[in-house]
Protein backbone atom coordinates (compact mmCIF):
# COMPACT_ATOMS: atom_id res chain seq x y z
CA UNK A 1 0.00 0.00 0.00
CA UNK A 2 1.25 3.48 -0.80
CA UNK A 3 1.10 6.44 1.56
CA UNK A 4 -1.81 7.78 -0.46
CA UNK A 5 -3.88 4.61 -0.27
CA UNK A 6 -3.20 4.27 3.45
CA UNK A 7 -4.17 7.89 4.03
CA UNK A 8 -7.34 7.34 2.04
CA UNK A 9 -8.20 4.42 4.33
CA UNK A 10 -7.86 6.73 7.32
CA UNK A 11 -10.01 9.35 5.59
CA UNK A 12 -12.58 6.64 4.89
CA UNK A 13 -12.71 5.71 8.57
CA UNK A 14 -13.23 9.38 9.43
CA UNK A 15 -16.07 9.49 6.93
CA UNK A 16 -17.68 6.39 8.46
CA UNK A 17 -17.49 7.92 11.93
CA UNK A 18 -18.85 11.20 10.53
CA UNK A 19 -22.00 9.41 9.40
CA UNK A 20 -22.76 8.98 13.09
CA UNK A 21 -21.80 12.44 14.32
CA UNK A 22 -22.62 14.83 11.48
CA UNK A 23 -25.87 15.97 13.09
CA UNK A 24 -23.95 17.69 15.83
CA UNK A 25 -21.78 19.59 13.35
CA UNK A 26 -24.71 20.77 11.26
CA UNK A 27 -25.41 23.48 13.81
CA UNK A 28 -22.00 25.04 13.39
CA UNK A 29 -21.89 24.51 9.63
CA UNK A 30 -25.31 25.86 8.72
CA UNK A 31 -26.82 27.74 11.60
CA UNK A 32 -23.75 29.75 12.64
CA UNK A 33 -23.24 31.39 9.22
CA UNK A 34 -26.90 32.30 9.13
CA UNK A 35 -26.84 33.78 12.62
CA UNK A 36 -23.64 35.71 12.05
CA UNK A 37 -24.68 37.06 8.67
CA UNK A 38 -28.07 38.05 10.03
CA UNK A 39 -26.71 39.79 13.11
CA UNK A 40 -23.41 41.21 11.88
CA UNK A 41 -24.18 41.71 8.26
CA UNK A 42 -27.79 42.67 7.98
CA UNK A 43 -28.18 44.17 11.45
CA UNK A 44 -24.87 45.85 12.22
CA UNK A 45 -24.22 46.39 8.53
CA UNK A 46 -27.17 48.68 8.00
CA UNK A 47 -25.78 50.86 10.79
CA UNK A 48 -22.24 50.85 9.42
CA UNK A 49 -23.25 51.50 5.82
CA UNK A 50 -25.47 54.44 6.75
CA UNK A 51 -22.67 55.87 8.88
CA UNK A 52 -19.48 57.54 7.74
CA UNK A 53 -19.27 55.01 4.89
CA UNK A 54 -15.51 54.58 4.88
CA UNK A 55 -15.64 51.03 3.47
CA UNK A 56 -15.46 50.66 -0.28
CA UNK A 57 -17.73 47.60 -0.21
CA UNK A 58 -21.04 46.96 1.57
CA UNK A 59 -20.39 45.84 5.13
CA UNK A 60 -22.23 42.57 4.44
CA UNK A 61 -19.67 41.63 1.77
CA UNK A 62 -16.84 42.71 4.06
CA UNK A 63 -18.00 40.64 6.98
CA UNK A 64 -19.07 37.60 4.89
CA UNK A 65 -15.57 37.26 3.44
CA UNK A 66 -14.02 37.72 6.86
CA UNK A 67 -16.36 35.15 8.37
CA UNK A 68 -15.53 32.60 5.70
CA UNK A 69 -11.85 32.74 6.61
CA UNK A 70 -12.78 32.68 10.30
CA UNK A 71 -15.01 29.68 9.71
CA UNK A 72 -12.07 27.94 8.07
CA UNK A 73 -10.02 28.69 11.17
CA UNK A 74 -12.76 27.57 13.54
CA UNK A 75 -13.35 24.27 11.76
CA UNK A 76 -9.65 23.59 11.23
CA UNK A 77 -8.86 24.34 14.86
CA UNK A 78 -11.69 22.13 16.06
CA UNK A 79 -10.60 19.22 13.85
CA UNK A 80 -7.02 19.63 15.01
CA UNK A 81 -7.77 19.61 18.72
CA UNK A 82 -10.54 17.56 20.34
CA UNK A 83 -10.74 14.66 17.85
CA UNK A 84 -6.95 14.37 17.94
CA UNK A 85 -6.87 14.18 21.73
CA UNK A 86 -9.74 11.70 21.52
CA UNK A 87 -7.79 9.55 19.07
CA UNK A 88 -4.93 9.38 21.55
CA UNK A 89 -6.68 9.35 24.92
CA UNK A 90 -10.44 8.90 24.88
CA UNK A 91 -11.74 7.23 21.76
CA UNK A 92 -8.30 5.70 21.17
CA UNK A 93 -8.94 5.14 17.48
CA UNK A 94 -5.35 6.21 16.71
CA UNK A 95 -4.01 3.59 19.09
CA UNK A 96 -6.16 0.97 17.40
CA UNK A 97 -5.04 2.02 13.94
CA UNK A 98 -1.30 1.81 14.50
CA UNK A 99 -1.31 -1.89 15.28
CA UNK A 100 -2.35 -2.38 11.65
CA UNK A 101 -0.22 -1.35 8.64
CA UNK A 102 -1.35 2.24 9.29
CA UNK A 103 1.32 4.44 10.87
CA UNK A 104 1.02 7.74 12.74
CA UNK A 105 1.95 9.76 9.65
CA UNK A 106 -0.82 8.03 7.67
CA UNK A 107 -3.24 9.18 10.36
CA UNK A 108 -2.06 12.78 9.95
CA UNK A 109 -2.27 12.72 6.15
CA UNK A 110 -5.60 10.89 6.14
CA UNK A 111 -7.14 13.37 8.54
CA UNK A 112 -5.73 16.17 6.39
CA UNK A 113 -7.48 14.78 3.30
CA UNK A 114 -10.69 14.33 5.19
CA UNK A 115 -10.52 17.85 6.65
CA UNK A 116 -9.94 19.25 3.17
CA UNK A 117 -13.16 17.62 2.02
CA UNK A 118 -15.13 18.65 5.08
CA UNK A 119 -13.84 22.23 5.04
CA UNK A 120 -14.73 22.53 1.38
CA UNK A 121 -18.23 21.32 2.10
CA UNK A 122 -18.73 23.63 5.08
CA UNK A 123 -17.40 26.65 3.18
CA UNK A 124 -19.41 26.00 0.05
CA UNK A 125 -22.47 25.93 2.29
CA UNK A 126 -21.30 29.21 3.83
CA UNK A 127 -20.78 30.72 0.38
CA UNK A 128 -24.27 29.74 -0.71
CA UNK A 129 -25.79 31.23 2.44
CA UNK A 130 -23.80 34.42 1.87
CA UNK A 131 -25.22 34.59 -1.65
CA UNK A 132 -28.73 34.10 -0.32
CA UNK A 133 -28.16 36.99 2.07
CA UNK A 134 -27.14 39.10 -0.89
CA UNK A 135 -23.63 39.58 0.44
CA UNK A 136 -21.89 38.48 -2.75
CA UNK A 137 -22.51 37.15 -6.23
CA UNK A 138 -22.16 33.39 -6.57
CA UNK A 139 -18.87 33.66 -8.50
CA UNK A 140 -16.90 35.65 -5.94
CA UNK A 141 -18.49 33.65 -3.13
CA UNK A 142 -17.16 30.40 -4.58
CA UNK A 143 -13.77 32.00 -5.24
CA UNK A 144 -13.59 32.70 -1.52
CA UNK A 145 -13.82 28.99 -0.73
CA UNK A 146 -10.26 27.80 -1.61
CA UNK A 147 -8.41 30.48 0.39
CA UNK A 148 -10.74 29.89 3.34
CA UNK A 149 -10.08 26.14 3.09
CA UNK A 150 -6.35 26.84 3.02
CA UNK A 151 -6.74 28.95 6.17
CA UNK A 152 -8.53 26.04 7.81
CA UNK A 153 -5.80 23.57 6.82
CA UNK A 154 -3.14 25.87 8.24
CA UNK A 155 -4.90 25.90 11.59
CA UNK A 156 -5.67 22.18 11.42
CA UNK A 157 -2.06 21.14 10.96
CA UNK A 158 -0.42 23.59 13.35
CA UNK A 159 -2.94 22.92 16.10
CA UNK A 160 -2.70 19.17 15.57
CA UNK A 161 1.02 19.33 16.16
CA UNK A 162 0.42 21.26 19.36
CA UNK A 163 -2.41 19.01 20.54
CA UNK A 164 -0.34 15.82 20.32
CA UNK A 165 2.12 17.29 22.82
CA UNK A 166 -0.59 18.05 25.38
CA UNK A 167 -1.16 15.77 28.37
CA UNK A 168 -4.93 16.06 28.49
CA UNK A 169 -7.92 17.98 27.22
CA UNK A 170 -7.73 20.87 29.69
CA UNK A 171 -5.33 22.95 27.62
CA UNK A 172 -7.53 22.57 24.56
CA UNK A 173 -10.29 24.78 25.93
CA UNK A 174 -7.63 27.27 26.95
CA UNK A 175 -6.45 27.37 23.37
CA UNK A 176 -9.89 28.35 22.16
CA UNK A 177 -10.44 30.89 24.88
CA UNK A 178 -7.09 32.65 24.64
CA UNK A 179 -6.05 32.14 21.02
CA UNK A 180 -8.91 31.30 18.69
CA UNK A 181 -11.48 33.75 20.10
CA UNK A 182 -9.11 36.77 20.14
CA UNK A 183 -7.95 35.92 16.63
CA UNK A 184 -11.57 35.72 15.56
CA UNK A 185 -12.25 39.21 16.92
CA UNK A 186 -9.08 41.09 16.01
CA UNK A 187 -7.87 39.73 12.68
CA UNK A 188 -9.88 42.01 10.46
CA UNK A 189 -12.93 39.77 10.40
CA UNK A 190 -15.38 42.42 11.61
CA UNK A 191 -13.46 45.66 11.05
CA UNK A 192 -10.37 46.62 9.04
CA UNK A 193 -7.03 46.24 10.79
CA UNK A 194 -6.46 49.93 10.14
CA UNK A 195 -9.02 50.63 12.85
CA UNK A 196 -6.81 48.97 15.48
CA UNK A 197 -4.60 51.21 17.62
CA UNK A 198 -1.33 51.77 15.74
CA UNK A 199 0.86 49.65 18.02
CA UNK A 200 -1.45 46.65 17.60
CA UNK A 201 -1.39 46.65 13.83
CA UNK A 202 2.04 44.96 13.48
CA UNK A 203 0.80 42.31 15.90
CA UNK A 204 -2.14 41.61 13.62
CA UNK A 205 0.20 41.32 10.63
CA UNK A 206 1.96 38.29 12.13
CA UNK A 207 -1.17 36.44 13.23
CA UNK A 208 -2.45 33.70 10.95
CA UNK A 209 -6.14 34.53 10.60
CA UNK A 210 -5.26 38.02 9.35
CA UNK A 211 -3.53 36.44 6.34
CA UNK A 212 -6.49 34.16 5.72
CA UNK A 213 -8.96 37.06 5.86
CA UNK A 214 -6.83 39.24 3.60
CA UNK A 215 -6.33 36.47 1.08
CA UNK A 216 -10.05 35.71 0.92
CA UNK A 217 -10.89 39.38 0.38
CA UNK A 218 -8.20 39.98 -2.21
CA UNK A 219 -9.42 36.98 -4.21
CA UNK A 220 -13.18 37.36 -3.76
CA UNK A 221 -13.43 41.15 -3.79
CA UNK A 222 -10.86 42.12 -6.43
CA UNK A 223 -10.09 45.78 -6.91
CA UNK A 224 -11.13 46.86 -3.44
CA UNK A 225 -9.11 49.73 -2.04
CA UNK A 226 -7.14 50.42 1.09
CA UNK A 227 -10.28 50.98 3.14
CA UNK A 228 -10.88 47.22 2.94
CA UNK A 229 -7.52 45.47 2.57
CA UNK A 230 -3.85 46.23 3.20
CA UNK A 231 -1.33 46.68 0.40
CA UNK A 232 0.54 43.50 1.35
CA UNK A 233 0.93 41.41 -1.83
CA UNK A 234 -1.19 38.30 -2.07
CA UNK A 235 1.75 35.93 -2.36
CA UNK A 236 2.81 36.77 1.18
CA UNK A 237 -0.53 35.58 2.53
CA UNK A 238 -0.23 32.46 0.42
CA UNK A 239 3.30 31.79 1.57
CA UNK A 240 2.30 32.35 5.19
CA UNK A 241 -0.58 29.87 5.06
CA UNK A 242 1.33 27.30 3.01
CA UNK A 243 4.19 27.50 5.49
CA UNK A 244 1.73 26.81 8.31
CA UNK A 245 0.51 23.72 6.46
CA UNK A 246 4.00 22.48 5.67
CA UNK A 247 5.43 23.07 9.14
CA UNK A 248 2.25 21.75 10.76
CA UNK A 249 2.37 18.53 8.74
CA UNK A 250 6.07 18.06 9.35
CA UNK A 251 5.77 18.55 13.11
CA UNK A 252 2.54 16.67 13.64
CA UNK A 253 3.72 13.51 11.84
CA UNK A 254 6.87 13.45 13.93
CA UNK A 255 5.27 14.42 17.23
CA UNK A 256 2.37 12.01 16.85
CA UNK A 257 4.85 9.21 16.18
CA UNK A 258 6.67 10.12 19.41
CA UNK A 259 3.40 10.24 21.30
CA UNK A 260 1.90 7.00 20.01
CA UNK A 261 5.09 4.93 19.86
CA UNK A 262 6.97 5.80 23.07
Amino acid sequence: MTVLSRSLRVAESEAIAYRRTWRGTVISSFINPILFLAAMGAGLGSLVDSGSGELAVPYLAFVATGLMAASGMQNGATDGSFPVMAGILWRKNFIGAISTPISPSDIIYGRFLWAMLRLTFVLVVFAVIAVLFGAMEIGPALLAVPPAVLTGLGFLTVITSWTVTQKDGLSLSTLFRFAIVPLFLFSGTFFPISQLPGFLQPVAYVTPLFHGVELVRKIALPGVDASVVTSIPMWIHFAYLLTMVAVGLYLSTRLLDKRLRP
Partner: protein, 308 residues
Protein backbone atom coordinates in the same frame (compact mmCIF):
# COMPACT_ATOMS: atom_id res chain seq x y z
CA UNK B 1 13.81 -20.42 7.21
CA UNK B 2 13.28 -22.11 10.53
CA UNK B 3 9.92 -22.21 12.21
CA UNK B 4 10.92 -19.51 14.67
CA UNK B 5 8.46 -16.63 14.37
CA UNK B 6 9.84 -14.37 17.06
CA UNK B 7 13.42 -14.27 18.25
CA UNK B 8 14.71 -11.97 20.97
CA UNK B 9 18.26 -11.63 22.25
CA UNK B 10 19.15 -9.20 24.99
CA UNK B 11 15.92 -7.35 24.24
CA UNK B 12 15.77 -4.19 26.31
CA UNK B 13 13.30 -1.35 26.73
CA UNK B 14 14.08 1.72 28.77
CA UNK B 15 11.90 4.72 29.52
CA UNK B 16 14.34 7.43 30.59
CA UNK B 17 16.04 5.83 33.57
CA UNK B 18 13.43 3.13 34.12
CA UNK B 19 14.29 -0.25 32.62
CA UNK B 20 10.99 -1.91 31.75
CA UNK B 21 12.49 -4.88 29.89
CA UNK B 22 15.96 -5.86 30.92
CA UNK B 23 17.83 -7.92 28.35
CA UNK B 24 15.53 -10.87 27.77
CA UNK B 25 15.99 -13.82 25.38
CA UNK B 26 13.25 -16.01 23.97
CA UNK B 27 12.19 -17.87 20.83
CA UNK B 28 8.60 -18.39 19.81
CA UNK B 29 7.88 -21.15 17.32
CA UNK B 30 5.26 -21.65 14.69
CA UNK B 31 2.07 -23.21 16.05
CA UNK B 32 2.74 -22.85 19.76
CA UNK B 33 0.96 -20.90 22.44
CA UNK B 34 3.63 -18.97 24.27
CA UNK B 35 2.95 -17.25 27.57
CA UNK B 36 4.43 -14.30 29.42
CA UNK B 37 3.49 -14.59 33.04
CA UNK B 38 4.25 -11.91 35.57
CA UNK B 39 2.94 -9.39 38.07
CA UNK B 40 2.09 -5.73 37.46
CA UNK B 41 4.98 -3.82 35.98
CA UNK B 42 6.97 -6.93 35.04
CA UNK B 43 7.42 -5.65 31.50
CA UNK B 44 4.94 -7.88 29.67
CA UNK B 45 3.13 -5.11 27.81
CA UNK B 46 6.39 -3.37 26.97
CA UNK B 47 7.59 -6.62 25.39
CA UNK B 48 4.35 -7.06 23.44
CA UNK B 49 4.58 -3.51 22.14
CA UNK B 50 8.05 -4.11 20.82
CA UNK B 51 6.91 -7.30 19.09
CA UNK B 52 3.93 -5.52 17.54
CA UNK B 53 6.31 -2.73 16.43
CA UNK B 54 4.41 0.06 18.20
CA UNK B 55 7.30 0.72 20.57
CA UNK B 56 10.89 1.05 19.36
CA UNK B 57 13.39 -1.28 21.01
CA UNK B 58 16.09 0.36 23.07
CA UNK B 59 18.74 -2.32 22.81
CA UNK B 60 19.29 -5.90 21.78
CA UNK B 61 17.97 -7.88 18.86
CA UNK B 62 14.41 -8.71 17.89
CA UNK B 63 13.06 -10.30 14.75
CA UNK B 64 9.45 -11.16 13.91
CA UNK B 65 8.96 -13.48 10.90
CA UNK B 66 12.68 -12.86 10.37
CA UNK B 67 11.91 -9.18 9.80
CA UNK B 68 13.33 -6.19 11.65
CA UNK B 69 10.66 -4.25 13.59
CA UNK B 70 12.60 -1.01 13.25
CA UNK B 71 12.69 -0.94 9.47
CA UNK B 72 10.02 -3.44 8.43
CA UNK B 73 7.31 -2.69 10.99
CA UNK B 74 4.57 -2.36 8.44
CA UNK B 75 5.27 -5.77 6.87
CA UNK B 76 5.17 -7.28 10.35
CA UNK B 77 1.93 -5.57 11.31
CA UNK B 78 0.34 -6.77 8.08
CA UNK B 79 0.71 -10.35 9.35
CA UNK B 80 -0.14 -10.07 13.03
CA UNK B 81 -3.32 -9.67 15.05
CA UNK B 82 -3.21 -7.66 18.26
CA UNK B 83 -5.49 -7.82 21.28
CA UNK B 84 -4.20 -4.97 23.47
CA UNK B 85 -4.38 -4.97 27.25
CA UNK B 86 -6.70 -1.99 27.17
CA UNK B 87 -9.66 -2.28 24.83
CA UNK B 88 -9.52 0.31 22.09
CA UNK B 89 -12.62 -0.53 20.12
CA UNK B 90 -14.14 2.50 18.46
CA UNK B 91 -17.16 3.20 20.63
CA UNK B 92 -18.59 5.59 18.08
CA UNK B 93 -18.94 2.81 15.51
CA UNK B 94 -21.01 -0.32 15.27
CA UNK B 95 -19.67 -3.81 15.81
CA UNK B 96 -19.37 -4.51 12.08
CA UNK B 97 -17.91 -1.07 11.31
CA UNK B 98 -15.13 -1.74 13.81
CA UNK B 99 -14.24 -4.87 11.89
CA UNK B 100 -14.73 -3.20 8.52
CA UNK B 101 -12.31 -0.36 9.26
CA UNK B 102 -9.67 -2.79 10.47
CA UNK B 103 -10.10 -4.79 7.28
CA UNK B 104 -9.67 -1.63 5.25
CA UNK B 105 -6.52 -0.75 7.20
CA UNK B 106 -5.27 -4.18 6.22
CA UNK B 107 -5.81 -3.40 2.55
CA UNK B 108 -8.79 -5.73 2.13
CA UNK B 109 -11.55 -4.97 -0.35
CA UNK B 110 -15.18 -4.63 0.64
CA UNK B 111 -15.92 -7.92 -1.11
CA UNK B 112 -13.26 -9.68 0.96
CA UNK B 113 -14.25 -8.07 4.23
CA UNK B 114 -17.97 -8.69 4.35
CA UNK B 115 -17.96 -12.51 4.37
CA UNK B 116 -15.05 -12.37 6.82
CA UNK B 117 -17.10 -10.20 9.19
CA UNK B 118 -19.93 -12.72 9.12
CA UNK B 119 -17.53 -15.55 9.86
CA UNK B 120 -15.74 -13.71 12.68
CA UNK B 121 -18.93 -12.54 14.37
CA UNK B 122 -20.05 -16.12 14.42
CA UNK B 123 -16.76 -17.16 15.94
CA UNK B 124 -17.05 -14.41 18.56
CA UNK B 125 -20.71 -15.26 19.17
CA UNK B 126 -21.76 -11.74 18.33
CA UNK B 127 -23.73 -12.32 15.13
CA UNK B 128 -26.89 -10.82 16.57
CA UNK B 129 -24.98 -7.66 17.53
CA UNK B 130 -23.66 -6.94 14.07
CA UNK B 131 -25.30 -3.53 13.69
CA UNK B 132 -25.44 -2.41 17.28
CA UNK B 133 -22.98 0.09 18.67
CA UNK B 134 -20.07 -1.14 20.75
CA UNK B 135 -20.73 0.98 23.82
CA UNK B 136 -23.45 -1.15 25.47
CA UNK B 137 -21.65 -4.49 24.99
CA UNK B 138 -20.54 -6.33 28.11
CA UNK B 139 -16.85 -6.58 28.99
CA UNK B 140 -16.69 -10.15 27.71
CA UNK B 141 -18.39 -9.24 24.44
CA UNK B 142 -16.02 -6.34 23.89
CA UNK B 143 -13.08 -8.63 24.48
CA UNK B 144 -14.42 -11.18 21.99
CA UNK B 145 -15.00 -8.41 19.48
CA UNK B 146 -11.43 -7.23 19.98
CA UNK B 147 -10.26 -10.76 19.28
CA UNK B 148 -12.46 -10.94 16.17
CA UNK B 149 -11.00 -7.64 15.03
CA UNK B 150 -7.48 -8.98 15.52
CA UNK B 151 -8.34 -11.92 13.25
CA UNK B 152 -9.70 -9.88 10.34
CA UNK B 153 -6.49 -10.21 8.32
CA UNK B 154 -6.11 -13.94 9.02
CA UNK B 155 -2.88 -13.29 10.95
CA UNK B 156 0.07 -15.67 11.18
CA UNK B 157 0.70 -14.59 14.77
CA UNK B 158 -1.82 -13.44 17.37
CA UNK B 159 -0.70 -11.38 20.34
CA UNK B 160 -3.07 -11.21 23.31
CA UNK B 161 -2.15 -8.94 26.21
CA UNK B 162 -4.11 -10.09 29.26
CA UNK B 163 -7.09 -11.30 27.27
CA UNK B 164 -9.27 -12.15 30.26
CA UNK B 165 -8.31 -9.64 32.95
CA UNK B 166 -11.39 -8.12 34.52
CA UNK B 167 -13.85 -10.70 33.19
CA UNK B 168 -16.13 -12.82 35.31
CA UNK B 169 -15.42 -16.59 35.35
CA UNK B 170 -18.12 -17.42 32.84
CA UNK B 171 -16.92 -14.82 30.34
CA UNK B 172 -13.37 -15.99 30.88
CA UNK B 173 -14.21 -19.61 30.14
CA UNK B 174 -16.04 -18.62 26.98
CA UNK B 175 -12.99 -16.71 25.89
CA UNK B 176 -10.64 -19.56 26.70
CA UNK B 177 -12.83 -21.79 24.59
CA UNK B 178 -12.38 -19.43 21.61
CA UNK B 179 -8.63 -19.37 22.14
CA UNK B 180 -8.51 -23.19 22.26
CA UNK B 181 -10.17 -23.24 18.88
CA UNK B 182 -7.58 -20.93 17.43
CA UNK B 183 -4.87 -23.13 18.87
CA UNK B 184 -6.47 -26.26 17.51
CA UNK B 185 -6.59 -24.67 14.08
CA UNK B 186 -2.85 -24.16 14.20
CA UNK B 187 -2.55 -20.49 15.16
CA UNK B 188 0.55 -19.20 16.89
CA UNK B 189 -0.43 -17.32 20.04
CA UNK B 190 1.45 -15.07 22.41
CA UNK B 191 -0.46 -14.54 25.63
CA UNK B 192 0.42 -12.43 28.63
CA UNK B 193 -1.38 -13.02 31.87
CA UNK B 194 -1.40 -12.54 35.61
CA UNK B 195 -3.33 -15.72 35.99
CA UNK B 196 -1.65 -18.99 36.69
CA UNK B 197 -4.66 -21.01 35.69
CA UNK B 198 -4.81 -19.21 32.38
CA UNK B 199 -1.17 -19.94 31.67
CA UNK B 200 -1.66 -23.57 32.65
CA UNK B 201 -4.74 -23.89 30.49
CA UNK B 202 -3.55 -22.17 27.36
CA UNK B 203 0.21 -22.15 27.10
CA UNK B 204 2.49 -24.82 25.69
CA UNK B 205 5.51 -22.94 26.87
CA UNK B 206 5.96 -19.85 28.95
CA UNK B 207 8.40 -17.52 30.57
CA UNK B 208 7.95 -16.00 34.00
CA UNK B 209 8.89 -12.34 34.05
CA UNK B 210 9.66 -10.22 37.05
CA UNK B 211 11.03 -6.70 37.09
CA UNK B 212 11.93 -6.77 33.43
CA UNK B 213 13.80 -10.07 33.56
CA UNK B 214 12.90 -13.63 32.68
CA UNK B 215 13.24 -15.65 35.85
CA UNK B 216 12.14 -19.04 34.51
CA UNK B 217 11.19 -20.74 31.30
CA UNK B 218 9.54 -24.01 30.29
CA UNK B 219 6.23 -25.78 29.89
CA UNK B 220 3.76 -25.34 32.76
CA UNK B 221 4.45 -28.93 33.79
CA UNK B 222 8.22 -28.50 33.70
CA UNK B 223 8.09 -25.35 35.75
CA UNK B 224 5.92 -26.93 38.37
CA UNK B 225 8.18 -29.96 38.56
CA UNK B 226 11.30 -27.86 38.73
CA UNK B 227 10.21 -25.15 41.13
CA UNK B 228 7.40 -26.55 43.22
CA UNK B 229 7.07 -29.96 44.87
CA UNK B 230 4.03 -31.93 43.81
CA UNK B 231 1.61 -31.07 46.56
CA UNK B 232 0.77 -28.11 48.72
CA UNK B 233 -0.71 -28.02 52.18
CA UNK B 234 -2.50 -24.79 52.91
CA UNK B 235 -2.83 -24.29 56.64
CA UNK B 236 -4.86 -21.68 58.48
CA UNK B 237 -4.33 -20.93 62.16
CA UNK B 238 -5.82 -18.91 64.94
CA UNK B 239 -3.94 -15.67 65.26
CA UNK B 240 -2.48 -16.64 68.68
CA UNK B 241 -1.35 -20.08 67.62
CA UNK B 242 0.21 -19.05 64.37
CA UNK B 243 3.66 -17.88 65.46
CA UNK B 244 4.09 -20.85 67.75
CA UNK B 245 3.04 -23.23 64.98
CA UNK B 246 5.43 -21.68 62.51
CA UNK B 247 8.31 -22.40 64.86
CA UNK B 248 7.19 -25.97 65.47
CA UNK B 249 6.80 -26.63 61.74
CA UNK B 250 10.34 -25.65 60.91
CA UNK B 251 11.83 -28.21 58.53
CA UNK B 252 8.75 -30.38 58.33
CA UNK B 253 8.36 -29.83 54.58
CA UNK B 254 10.70 -29.30 51.66
CA UNK B 255 9.81 -25.62 51.68
CA UNK B 256 7.32 -23.34 53.36
CA UNK B 257 5.87 -19.91 52.74
CA UNK B 258 4.29 -17.86 55.48
CA UNK B 259 1.64 -15.60 53.97
CA UNK B 260 -0.57 -13.07 55.69
CA UNK B 261 -3.57 -15.34 55.87
CA UNK B 262 -2.11 -18.82 55.67
CA UNK B 263 1.00 -20.98 55.64
CA UNK B 264 1.93 -23.05 52.60
CA UNK B 265 3.92 -26.25 52.93
CA UNK B 266 5.43 -27.74 49.77
CA UNK B 267 5.89 -31.46 49.83
CA UNK B 268 6.02 -34.53 47.65
CA UNK B 269 3.71 -36.40 49.95
CA UNK B 270 1.00 -34.49 51.75
CA UNK B 271 -0.07 -37.44 53.90
CA UNK B 272 3.43 -37.86 55.29
CA UNK B 273 3.68 -34.21 56.07
CA UNK B 274 0.31 -34.14 57.77
CA UNK B 275 1.37 -37.02 60.01
CA UNK B 276 4.60 -35.20 60.84
CA UNK B 277 2.61 -32.09 61.78
CA UNK B 278 0.44 -34.13 64.07
CA UNK B 279 3.54 -35.66 65.70
CA UNK B 280 4.91 -32.19 66.37
CA UNK B 281 1.69 -31.09 67.97
CA UNK B 282 0.68 -28.65 65.26
CA UNK B 283 -3.08 -28.38 64.94
CA UNK B 284 -4.19 -25.99 62.24
CA UNK B 285 -7.76 -24.73 62.14
CA UNK B 286 -8.10 -25.68 58.56
CA UNK B 287 -6.06 -27.82 56.17
CA UNK B 288 -6.36 -27.85 52.44
CA UNK B 289 -4.37 -30.21 50.23
CA UNK B 290 -3.96 -29.30 46.59
CA UNK B 291 -1.65 -29.84 43.66
CA UNK B 292 0.93 -27.19 43.17
CA UNK B 293 0.33 -24.64 40.41
CA UNK B 294 2.21 -21.97 38.57
CA UNK B 295 1.21 -19.63 41.34
CA UNK B 296 3.45 -21.62 43.62
CA UNK B 297 6.19 -21.48 41.02
CA UNK B 298 5.89 -17.75 40.91
CA UNK B 299 5.93 -17.42 44.67
CA UNK B 300 9.04 -19.54 44.78
CA UNK B 301 10.80 -17.57 42.07
CA UNK B 302 10.05 -14.08 43.26
CA UNK B 303 9.04 -14.39 46.88
CA UNK B 304 5.84 -12.57 46.02
CA UNK B 305 2.33 -13.58 45.21
CA UNK B 306 1.11 -12.84 41.73
CA UNK B 307 -2.05 -11.05 42.66
CA UNK B 308 -2.36 -9.34 45.95
Amino acid sequence: MTDTLVEARGLTKRFDDLTAVDGIDFDIHQGEAFGFLGPNGAGKTSTMKMITTVSPITEGKLTVFGLDPTTQGRSIRQRIGVVPQEDNLDLELTVSENLYIYGRYHDMSRAEINPRITELLEFAQLSDRRDSTVEPLSGGMKRRLTIARALINDPDLIILDEPTTGLDPQARHLLWDRLYRLKRDGATLIITTHYMDEAEQLCDRLVVMDQGKIVAEGSPRELIEQYAPREVLELRFDDEQRDDAVIKMDGVAARSEVLADRVLLYTDDADDTQRALHDRGVHPEQVLVRRSTLEDVFLRLTGRRLID
